[in-house]
Symmetry: C2
Subunit: 445 residues, 2 copies
């Protein structure tokens, strides 16, 4: 008997590789062994196509593609989905979200929320995400259980850590968090997340960046989400936000700035020069009326931009397919230029571009030999996906999360034919419904 | 044995009525007899709840609500979905869509395209739509077969009818079309559709309006989709488009103006004064970079506005749930005011408001006693719809077409548990794939 050559083979279907040549391969074959893609090409060209496989996935009628990378989430905020909508950003934050967080965020809420959020993400094609919240240790545990790939960012914000001893305590726990997850969980990469320049003073921003630099991990920060932020920072520190962060030594290739709706051309040049990455969250910023990020200009200047959904309270979903559709459309209409953001560009931003944003483009973001096996199958045999002229157009403008049929992360099948294999969705929903019932009850006693 | 009291009963679930009081009823009961809603209220309050029913639909865990009204479509354009994207409006129209239409539009293409489009629409919660295209006789036949409710608008455009005899011939066939469908098909209402002021000369616009007025039916027209249209009409006729149509006697309560992206405040006042209705198609206008309609100002001035998806070539789907989400978000961000367009307002526009746009608000658009039974069930027991604080928010910002479980049109179940009962989706897809194969083959010989 021959050695078992494949853990998983995917045969047939159209492979949208998202590799450097943007190859699209009809009647494809993808072979996976030990979590790695060991074959990716035309089925007819594979010598070992008929070697035994532990699992064979028939993909005819499907598009086979890299799993999507969601570059910005706050998973536990699923617990606040739809709790407060149609409000101004600052009222939404200061009167609804922050008080609810102060009162209801706990290790258990974070774990349960993250689990439900991951169910939603797997069901809609995301295989890797980058999260920033509190109690990230619990999130990392939930991620481990669900088998997703994640950058997990421990959050810092002065309104939570109100004195120096609290900051010191948080720093100690952040270092413990890094030490715990960095060396031993292949799917989890710890990161540090300062909420924003207006909620973190330099005495928080700087030591957190130093800790991130020391550990060689990502530093995440919300930046210029709202138009008022520039004025706030100017009043407080006598300079604009990007200059402020630049002077504090925060900006480098390991920094991911989130939103960046009000970045000026000069700010973009600074980012391009220093290699700062950007996470673009169009739906959240539309819903909060925060603004539209100048992404076409960022791309023109060579900045790496990934797409993110943001937390569920401001979106209100984690569906990267919807986010792609919106990304293409919002930039076309705000520029009145329909050629400024193509479907292909958008799909790059949510696969290989997202991977690059998180410093993971050597590992994931495309389906090619040697990369980690993060692969999804899209069921294209559906009325709303017929006919099929152009894969990029169809995936961005017509497909949606519910069309994801099967998902593989790191060579493990986490969803097959829409059935989740690592999360019990009914239990996850029940747990979050209980949290929501508490919130409703305690808000309106 | 007692008389059979109900054709269909829907028991349990949360009823989002969209009636004048915007009632939301938990643990509801909806009874249907002879195509009419004959009961709608709390389950516990129904004396006849246990009378026999031919069909009982268990709705616990669901939202029960009126079917969505898509106020602007060109169904056969599903055949062009994804054929040409990311192009300027005029290049897209004149170099891609119009040549393809000239070459490939036929009775059969129209019938097959409409059938696939209706499969997609039923699967995503639409029960009524308003279409404008050519060969609408074939569309009406397809609508009859599928059992949807529709306003079917026979199209006029000078680039197709190039001489007077052609216009006369089209008028004759339009009158025959009205005569055929007006008196005898309860679900089909004929209408007349002039493509636009820039593609129809006054000698087309005026007699078509006269024919519509004579028959007492709707008159549909694209208006100010693109910024350039105002200049084009000003150059040609010495006045702006709305003044041009006003002077031609086109504008009245039976006119539905589609897009209206560049309507001025003064134009809006004219529309409000005359009762002209508006169909708002945000995703199409975003994708084509055509503009954002001033809908908040229209609503402020009391204009009736419905939502539409437009044709599939410019969207690229017919999912009204996505369209609702985008409607709320695009107006928030362009005004930088998150309170300007609430989820509730948007849901009204796609149910009762859409019905009012089409002159059907006495018949449909809400779930209340005496109205036609156009009802959908949304499966809310899903990760991306959990938890549930607010029905309007959840339906607009988190739900999507794929969450529609069951659909009833005029008291007939057209989809049950996601299975279409009046259309064979595989056959519909195969037919359109053949048309697309011809287009690909003949485009690139």
């Amino acid at each position: 008997m021959r050695e078992n050559n494949w853990d998983i083979v995917i045969t047939g279907g159209t492979l949208v590789t998202m590799n450097a040549g943007m190859e699209i391969i009809e009647d494809a074959f993808v072979g996976i062994k030990n979590g790695i893609i060991t074959a990716a090409g035309k089925r007819g060209d594979q010598k070992n196509a008929n070697d035994p496989a532990k699992e064979t996935i028939e993909a005819s009628g499907c598009i086979v593609m890299p799993g999507l990378v969601n570059t910005h989430t706050h998973l536990p905020m699923v617990c606040f989905r739809g709790m407060a909508d149609d409000l101004p950003l600052m009222e939404w934050l200061t009167k609804n979200i922050w008080p609810a967080e102060k009162r209801f965020v706990s290790k258990k809420m974070v774990y349960d929320g993250a689990t439900l959020a991951m169910a939603e993400m797997i069901l809609s094609g995301t295989t890797t995400f980058c999260d920033g919240y509190f109690f990230e240790d619990s999130i990392a545990e939930a991620v481990s259980a669900a088998g997703m790939r994640a950058v997990v960012g421990q959050g810092f914000a002065d309104f939570i850590m109100q004195d120096e001893s609290a900051i010191e305590k948080t720093m100690v726990s952040a270092r413990r968090f890094i030490k715990r997850w960095l060396p031993r969980a292949p799917l989890i990469t710890p990161a540090l997340f300062c909420h924003s320049p207006y909620t973190c003073s330099p005495s928080t921003l700087v030591p957190v960046k130093e800790a991130a630099r020391e550990a060689g991990i990502l530093y995440l920060i919300h930046l210029l989400e709202n138009r008022d932020e520039a004025g706030t920072i100017l009043n407080r520190y006598g300079k604009k936000p990007v200059q402020h962060l630049l002077d504090l030594g925060i900006l480098d290739e390991q920094t991911v700035a989130v939103h960046c709706n009000w970045l000026t051309k000069e700010d973009i040049a600074v980012f391009a020069d220093l290699g700062v990455k950007v996470s673009h969250n169009p739906e959240s910023s539309m819903k909060l009326a925060a603004g539209v990020a100048p992404v076409p200009e960022m791309l023109r200047q060579g900045i790496t931009v990934g797409i993110g959904t943001d937390g569920c309270a401001s979106n209100n979903d984690l569906d990267m397919f919807r986010e792609m559709d919106t990304t293409a459309k919002i930039h076309k209409v705000t520029s009145l230029n329909p050629t400024i953001m193509s479907a292909e560009t958008v799909l790059k931003m949510s696969t290989i571009g997202g991977a690059r944003t998180l410093g993971m483009d050597k590992l994931i973001g495309s389906v090619e030999i040697g990369k980690k096996a993060d692969v999804i199958l899209m069921d294209m045999n559906q009325p709303h996906l017929t006919p099929l002229y152009n894969c990029y157009s169809q995936l961005v403008y017509a497909a949606r999360g519910a069309d994801v049929k099967t998902s593989i992360i790191n060579g493990r099948i986490v969803m097959k034919d829409r059935k989740l294999l690592t999360i019990d969705p009914q239990a996850a929903m029940e747990n979050v419904r209980r949290i929501a019932a508490d919130i409703i009850h305690q808000k309106m006693p």
